[in-house]
Homo-oligomer: 177 residues x 2
């Protein structure tokens, strides 16, 4: 064996396209509800035609991400499930941030999370998780601070007139009971 074969059995980094990530995500969802996924439901969820799904499934099967045989049910392999869970996690984190921190409406939050989940990297995601946690835990932030944020957003000419009251409320909050 020569050095030409050196990276033959390397498990290549598995850089999935946005499309493939979306397939995995809905297959995971469908598996949770129905045990198995069906082409028709995948097509519906992805809002594409059923004819297109077959091609996508073949591609996923080639990558070892799903168990697929024509006319059979579709299930994720362990590898595919790990990937799908990863994507679903990114989705949850982003949606949580959009919904509960930025307080975007549920529909927009869902759709935006769906698009951003393919663009965010691991480092940024974990920092975002940490940031959301920090906001909820830090006595200087928290739910009332988030409520004030929305008032701040609504006011055309943002004033600080509520700051007095707001800052005074921090001390009692920090000494619970």
């Amino acid at each position: 064996m020569t050095c030409e074969n050196r990276d033959e059995d390397m498990p290549k980094p598995l850089q999935l396209t946005e499309s493939m990530e979306n397939y995995l995500e809905v297959i995971l969802e469908l598996e949770k509800v129905n045990k198995v996924a069906r082409a028709k439901d995948i097509a519906e969820k992805l809002e594409i035609k059923k004819g297109s799904v077959t091609g996508g499934l073949k591609s996923l099967a080639e990558k070892g991400l799903i168990n697929y045989a024509p006319y059979n049910f579709i299930t994720l392999t362990d590898k595919g499930k790990a990937q799908a869970e990863e994507i679903a996690y990114r989705h949850r984190v982003l949606k949580d941030f959009l919904l509960n921190i930025l307080q975007i409406d549920p529909d927009t939050a869902e759709h935006t999370a769906c698009r951003m989940e393919h663009a965010i990297d691991g480092k940024t995601l974990e920092r975002l998780v940490c940031f959301v946690e920090y906001i909820h835990r830090c006595p200087r932030a928290g739910d009332d601070w988030l409520e004030s944020f929305i008032n701040y957003c609504r006011s055309d000419n943002p004033s600080r007139k509520n700051c007095d009251l707001c800052v005074e409320q921090i001390q009692p909050k920090y000494r619970p009971k």
Copy 2:
């Protein structure tokens, strides 16, 4: 004229692909530095081959976004410039959030902003702008609060032991001078 022509002269919503948005963005950058953009520099910035650029430029010219004639310099039309500025704005907002709020390293922040800028919608972007502004302005947040966030991130077992000190510092900060 029948109703069949009803949307003939509608200025269609101009939904640009990620690729087209990237072209516009670098053309704007190059224009700022060199007055005009050149295919070679576009290729370099986008990390694609120069042969691919010609196709992209033709597509942008067809959409009325750039002034383009073979072997000539490239400039943005007013329409193209407006679009490019819009994209550059999304980029700046996202990078600012990643860099100064989440405190991601500059390289990752740049690359992630580059990918996320195509996924974020206008509503979410404006809310993010507002959020960043709120953090900087609210006496309960601010730069020292962001510093504490990074300490919070670093601690393996996040404790609240710094909260006392931190909360006490809010009052003086709120009464400047």
